[in-house]
Point group: C2
Chain length 329, copies 2
């Protein structure tokens, strides 16, 4: 079997996750990691692969089947997405929901021109959660769909806390409100305010002698990030933060509540949930399944941008169609 040759662009948490997870996919090989840093200073786990400078990628189009773009949605992907779609089949986790149509168009244009296949906005949200929203809504058209995030670490909110005066370090967890989940599961189809769906729990390491009540107030009243939520602030030591809050865990729920029957007397509840010790490694795992699909779609001359909505599920699996029907159907 010809293995799928993978390149990784960007070696942050997600790039490292992709490297680790390639080893769990027997039909894939890592060729190289591409970075803006000095490649000599990048130490890979994979002995058979090498780190390259990002500028070297364009010379390697014939030895890489799929490039996984691990950059950020804000400053990296808007340019890297179309740029690399002109050279490679790609997969990314572009997650600025509001700008997906625009990003799709840019990558699609580049991919159609280069005859490459580019899966955008993959991962779990967008990605697996999106799929579950689609399937649930298609099956239960008269219903309501709810997405809850957490319990999990929000990097953006943790960063926002660290910018508060007197804060040395912090970790913020987004947590679904249990009562809200239960009301949805009961088929009530409620409307929620922001505050009713999620709460925010913060573990904060303060400077010696800092005014803790002022820090707590600064966090809880911070617009956009915290002011619309019920927020809990705990002050802990740096040691405790490092010991008990060192995982980039995440998760969430997609729940559809729908009605059927002559008088809408029957309720159906579809619930999908994730509980992830490592958000970057799980996201990486989804990207790799999508890399397999990009590779196969490209072989069938199906070019341009794709989302998980466009990919026949079988294309994500290492198993043949016959084996899938025999073992998983």
């Amino acid at each position: 079997m010809q293995k799928i040759r993978i390149g990784i662009l960007g070696y942050g948490n997600m790039g490292k996750g992709v490297e680790l997870c390639i080893r769990q996919n027997k039909d894939m090989d890592l060729v190289g990691v591409f970075t803006r840093r000095n490649p000599d200073e990048v130490k890979l786990i994979t002995k058979s692969a090498k780190a390259y400078h990002i500028n070297e990628a364009k010379e390697m189009t014939d030895i890489i089947d799929v490039m996984i773009l691990c950059g950020g949605s804000k400053s990296d992907l808007p340019s890297q997405g179309p740029e690399f779609a002109a050279l490679f089949n790609t997969v990314d986790a572009y997650d600025t929901h509001a700008k997906i149509p625009e990003y799709y168009d840019a990558v699609n244009k580049a991919g159609l021109k280069s005859k490459k296949t580019c899966v955008i906005a993959s991962g779990w949200d967008p990605g697996l959660f999106s799929l579950n929203r689609l399937y649930a809504e298609a099956v239960l058209p008269e219903g309501k769909n709810y997405t809850f995030w957490g319990k999990g670490v929000s990097q953006g909110h943790s960063d926002a806390i660290r910018r508060v005066e007197g804060v040395l370090d912090a970790k913020q967890y987004t947590i679904p409100v249990e009562e809200a989940l239960e009301r949805v599961r009961n088929g009530e189809m409620p409307e929620f305010s922001t505050r009713q769906k999620h709460l925010r729990e913060c573990f904060v390491v303060a400077e010696d002698g800092a005014d803790l009540s002022r820090i707590e107030k600064d966090i809880k009243t911070m617009p956009d990030y915290f002011s619309d939520y019920n927020t809990i602030v705990h002050f802990i030591s740096k040691e405790e933060l490092d010991r008990n809050h060192n995982k980039i865990s995440h998760g969430g729920f997609v729940i559809q509540s729908g009605k059927t029957g002559l008088n809408y007397e029957n309720t159906s509840i579809i619930e999908y949930s994730l509980r992830l010790d490592s958000n970057p490694e799980f996201t990486a795992s989804v990207l790799l399944a999508c890399a397999r699909a990009a590779y196969r779609l490209n072989k069938e001359a199906d070019f341009g941008a794709k989302t998980v909505f466009d990919i026949p599920p079988a294309y994500l699996s290492i198993k043949s169609n016959e084996e899938l029907r025999r073992t998983l159907l």
Copy 2:
């Protein structure tokens, strides 16, 4: 918009469910119900549709876009599947898991010849549960997948109890063992015996003066159906059975537990669950989403047998690809 014109073959619980659920899909119209009975004796809910004898179907190939086959997997579909695939795009809920490859081949052959598109083995298991097994396994290749059924009514087990001497009526619920679910959710990846995964709860109406302890023993020791399970038997009145056990409810869980990380130190749990007041109406709802896909795939000249594994998710939705990307991704 040209609506998708639907025919229903078979007017049992599922056929009736399909009729009800068509009204929830704005892009579909019911043309007719086809039955082996005298069609004059079949009263439809849909005013604009008519009941026909099954033999009339072959004259109506130009006014029906998709025929939903609502017969049973044991005695109806093995012949009806290929027979109707020769005439119509079809959707069915064939659920004899072990014989799916054989059934697929027969329907595929007929559909390729007639240039029709035929979605087989749809519904929720096989169907939505199969999809979740595939997605979860593709994303977490080093893991273990568990399917639990219930709490829900098993028609086959209820029938088996009714055949016990002295039993007037009965309803059997299959129930996942809570402790087993918890162990899977904890990432333990346990191996289970049949008895450890599900228990069976039976509500039995006995004849006046019947030997209840003999009936209970006959049920609990019944091979294939009950002897491998922990079984609870309640004797109740006919009135109570009709009042409290009149819904054909069902549901279940597909849970994947997987490991990632350098030393497999991170666990991911993917859980999908259904809780359905009406098993036939929910199954019907899935079949209709698949009917939409069959119709569209056929327009694109993608003929032969298909399963949910082959269908790009977007084909199931009434929304356009642009709208899906904008609203659900």
